[in-house]
Symmetry: D3
Subunit: 318 residues, 6 copies
């Protein structure tokens, strides 16, 4: 298999992903889909075995560039899992169809998701946000575009205060915004109709991996019976978790938490800065995707439908 020809465009895409020239969950997935499309179109394979080997080699090459980027394997699984046919031509056609399908859906996914999420919102509702999520904002924007009047309580979301970005975007739309520190969320939940957050990734056991602080927010929201909705395109579903893999939480630089001056004054302490935490499905009311809304306990069904049930990745094992 190692001799299978990888098209130079695929190689170029792989390098661009590896060097982080291409970045962002959706952008990476789109580039990978294009690359497989190219590989299929340009393939000179003459046997079905050769064609498959080429596609698998391309998928593998792309995958190894960023093995932990969740959108990459699910793009690859989506396309490779749909390659079928008895002739090279049939294989090629099915590959192209799958790659095109994936790209088309990806293009409108955020807007489609926004339309679904907006259906949960009603005139006069107040939404609480955590961090900055374009998927979550897409729901608010869609509702706003329909003339639904909303207001927002925006948690600043330490350490990087991405809540400020959310606040600025909502303000631009003319949505009334109240900014609070993270610790004040509990106090404002009784004025909140929906907690609406995004996701870094979603696991097969229904757990939501999202910006640090999400879990506490969800636990506290459940205690007050305020619904918590996670907005996440299906590129955020992590197919590796179908086979039990857990998500490695990234630790970021301590300078995000404490400035050099503050540090100098305090002296020798440790600073820990985990980027994400894990919210179990029992604290989430619904996951809103471009393919509709799901209880978190059911998202595994959508994952299997989109990415296959194989516990092994489909381009391995030959």
């Amino acid at each position: 298999m190692t001799t299978a020809e990888i098209h130079p465009d695929v190689e170029a895409t792989a390098e661009a992903i590896a060097s982080m020239e291409i970045r962002g969950a959706a952008t990476i997935a789109g580039a990978a889909a294009d690359a497989l499309h190219t590989q299929a179109t340009q393939s000179t394979a003459t046997t079905t075995d050769d064609f498959r080997q080429e596609m698998h080699a391309a998928a593998k090459r792309l995958h190894e560039t960023r093995p932990t980027a969740v959108s990459l394997p699910n793009c690859l699984r989506y396309i490779v899992g749909r390659i079928e046919g008895d002739t090279v031509d049939a294989l090629r056609r099915s590959t192209i169809t799958a790659a095109t399908e994936f790209s088309t859906q990806l293009e409108t996914a955020q807007e489609d998701l926004g339309a679904v999420g907006a259906n949960r919102l009603r005139d006069g509702d107040t939404v609480m946000t955590h961090c900055h999520s374009t998927d979550a904002l897409s729901c608010i924007k869609a509702a706003h575009a329909r003339g639904i009047e909303l207001s927002a309580i925006v948690k600043e979301t330490r350490p990087r205060k991405q809540g400020h970005i959310t606040a600025a975007e909502l303000r631009e739309l003319g949505i009334p915004v109240t900014l609070i520190v993270d610790g004040a969320a509990g106090r404002y939940l009784d004025e909140t109709d929906h907690v609406l957050v995004g996701a870094d990734s979603i696991a097969a056991d229904g757990a939501v991996i999202n910006k640090i602080g999400t879990r506490s927010l969800a636990v506290t929201a459940r205690e007050r019976d305020t619904p918590i909705v996670v907005a996440a395109q299906t590129v955020k579903l992590d197919p590796a978790t179908l086979s039990g893999h857990t998500v490695e939480i990234e630790y970021r630089d301590e300078s995000e938490v404490i400035s050099e001056d503050e540090r100098a004054e305090i002296g020798d302490i440790a600073v820990r800065n985990p980027a994400f935490d894990v919210t179990p499905p029992r604290y989430v009311d619904a996951i809103v995707t471009e393919r509709g809304q799901f209880p978190p306990e059911s998202i595994v069904t959508l994952m299997r439908e989109l990415f296959g049930e194989q516990t092994a990745t489909p381009w391995e094992g030959e």
Copy 2:
């Protein structure tokens, strides 16, 4: 009664409290106790009625300087409630005894409380703190002084990041400190043996009023079955709540939450900055005071013992 003579020293103390020259829960209470001591010592009253009127007038004068400062009424109630006797002399003696008793206890209260709290800590334990509380620190320091090895996870506590003060003080003692943002508390609770916080005040229904974020921390800690302990001298017990009064939450300036530059960039949004929140007793495992530890549901008994059961304040109604 209005003609009752208030001693100039009492008047001076009242003015100093009103102008916030005298500030801080314990300092205010100590000054008020001294003032009543002086009033009793210097009183020239010749009838028991006159003496009582003088003491009540002095108490009233002191009380009206800062009607919401919790330590003030409980000092006054403690002393006025213990004035008893059939002669001016007996009244004076009982007043002086009560004022001295109160002052003496106040002086060692934090240390006594620390000794009680330290008894809950064991070698190798990790304590999570919120905000900066000298009562809470007193427990850690007492344990540390006994040679108990502790480590601390310190929440920075936005907006004012008083966690940095806590971190610096613990570091000075040589206690290993890990600083985290508030949202990361949930992630570190499984490495935490005790959540230990102070209190701004404690209500008769067992609720703990403390720095914003305490309630979320307590809810999340309970979800993981990590005990939450509140360290609070009895001057923090709010006798007004015996008669159902609730605590008015102070809102602080928005500049604590967002800088002018940040604000300019975002534009026209509201910022809310409540200083405290209210944690119901069901999320607190114990309140540690200088008179021992109590389940929060029992603190009302201590309040009644110290400050009387009267729903009306004892210096009113004449």
Copy 3:
């Protein structure tokens, strides 16, 4: 002891209570206090033993008229428990003092309680009520009298729809009322700031015995984190429960649940109509009495203070 003289007025009161000519918790307690006062005043006993025997005989006679009426034993225990002295005169004086004290407090208890409960209410609050409780209404009335603007959601409270009485009384005050069926309470809890109910009696383990439906309301309110407050004069505290006795729940006539016509149409079914249910303390935030507010877990302390700790009733065992 059986020869101890019971005063004819005491006998008359006993008969009036037994025949239910005298009824209602507060009225019964007041009559019993008056009777003991009379017995003490009129006693011709010449030894302290004789005096005590007379008082015990009078208490016993009164108690046996309605052994399950909760206010009766607590009146008797309050007074008999305070009889003390070394001479007949001293015994008489202490009895009269206790009886007078009890009566005086009883007279203003509902108003005093209302003042305490009103302290929990704030401008703009919405209160949900269950059944008809003059103690609960006293809190709303006191707040209303202070100019606090409230609105009320009134559960009709099947089977007897006492909510209609509550609705009419609140309407008379000019408080906006929304009437709902009992099953709709959950739907309206998110618009409710306080659930405020009365009590038939309160047990030493902190349980609240109140109109059927209270427990479900409390469980549902807790699920939404809406505070539930029980307004109950101390005559509702059941001293028999100090020694572990549980409260026997009364079953009322099925005609309250179903009319004869409805019954005829349905045919042979059983109908059960328990008057009360038992709410455990963990679902109650505070009990408001004329002596201040208490967490339900602490009410035992007030019971012991008022009625003594003896597990046996004080007029027995001679």
Copy 4:
């Protein structure tokens, strides 16, 4: 498409549904299936495009008669989503097959569902019911028919007391019935083995929309660990909720809650009479349908299988 011919029988059915001549979830769905069957059989379309346009037009016409009736869109989605083929004939055949399939399943759905629900019941069990649900009763009847001895605790279900209908039907079967007011449910849950209710509709996020009072019952049942089972034919699954739509709760006339006489006596108050409430999936143990039982969190999978995953309705968008 607007020129597509709608068959007169379809038009007649549409009018009968609109005028509520045809009513009831199952009856409406059956009539709509028959109408599409007729449209397909009688179509004179000569191109596949024309045939599809006709079917979509017919579906659209039927749908707009009662846009909020949940059984209508799921019937239409079921059939239109199964139209497939490359020739008019193939399209017609697939349409007829789907319409027939739908009708056949509908006919036996309640009985099939009853057989599934009965499998959960055992000799000697006591079932608590809320409101009157023929789906829920079908389970009890099926169990009864198998000789399983059951007894029932029937909540009267204010305001319309449909519990009386349930009581009468169960009595007719010879099942011992105990009628209680709604507030007494908590008291009788410890004698209950299953809470068994129907549904007005079921949402994709697993929420159960049912007669007001269901949510409180479910919350209380969960607190006592009594399983709560919802019996609902698949025509109750609301496909609009797949795309995030929430269910609009109907408010009914206040005369159901309070008679004119009662009203006159009380005076000017508001009365609110919501017909339904929403029970989140975490308080439901199983949903019993004619296609088997499901945890509420999985019902979305059945919805997608039956009615398609499209967030847009399949007869739109041309």
Copy 5:
């Protein structure tokens, strides 16, 4: 159908299962698959009807040997549900394919499941076990084989102390084991990262039927937020529960609980020895199977995929 020829080998297998010569969930399922394979291979049927009748008769014969063994019906349903084709040959081929598929998967199921479960474990983790489950151990072994360092807390699991077997097997691998009595589990959950148990069977409503004591362990683990994972091959999924059937719990001999000597000393008491209990899905974090991990609320989807949605068993009803 009664005249349909059952192959002598099928008959022999049936007898061996009935006599418990063949026993164990996987062994029974494997033997049944082989039997159906033989029946299909050796069938002399000349019409498709005859072939189907033969296969159904064989399935029925096998099923009736141990109607409560969960792996038997799911094997039979898997294969019979996949018989399809228009000719005897096609039917035969599809049968053989399904039987082979089933057998192949069965063979590696435990190892595949182990690989999935191992993905949840990390270096330094402590696992708590209950009873002895080869599926659960397969996860630990797989992790151990990858060099992940684990330690185990092993509950002895009265009455039969199968924990001793678990302890011995883990010890053999060199994994540090701490043995505790069942009542001590709560005490050791704060040192536990995963509770990992097997299952006797799993129901469509997500309930896990497993060795007595599992439910208490799961409830207690949830209270401390320790994840509980159930390892179960898909042969443990009970297809009868799709149609609402509940699992009959076996009661075992009292001699397992109490020896004759102990019994003689105590005298005439009852002893109850249920073998299993039922853990609701809300206390389980994930079910690990050879086809990946699932939230328990989603396992119904896998059951329907593998065994069909029919509420009736596929070999009945002819």
Copy 6:
């Protein structure tokens, strides 16, 4: 003080306690009370200071024999805390009174407690027991003696199976007993009306220290809303916990958990055998003592009343 004369009888008692000749909570407390009685009676002190020194020395000597035996300090605190007067005679008399009071109460404590606990039980109730507690049995016996018909579900309580003793004693009374393994408790809680256990000691924060397995039982009972009652004489209240001290849990020999033969077969594993666990007050409904019943959150009030509020032990600090 060191020169203060300790009476030889006190010394003898101290030695007997130290050598465990005198053992058992009540027996130790009784012996200590007798010793202080003797010391007071026989004291030859001529000044009040000398008398106090003698009593303190005696208390200290007794205390140091078994510093962790909970009944010892509470006996000593009870008596020493009640020594008062201005003359040696008065001191002596108050000491003797206190010692006699303590002894008298101790003598009937278990029976008094039984009478209180019995008041919670009703005809037909089923009680579940854990371990063997004479305090818990005293409640059952008292109820039985009154003719209340009870039945019992007895957990065997590994490792020492003290449930067998409980079973034998109940059987002797003619109470129907069902013996189960510990893991089966959850399964039988739905047939249980009361969980009734004893206590090793009770802490000021309301926590109950009792035989390992109590906490799990309480958590599971709460999940099913079955009340859990702790029967404990006041000698079980641990006064050291008033000042925050926590209870050291004893670890017992591993031979209780595993026999030598079993051990030999398994090989090199660790065995942990903690004797007790700690149940937080939120899982306990009532503590039944000889002085009545208390919510666990209120027991601190009784502790302070009996043993004083001093955080330091009263015989120290001179």
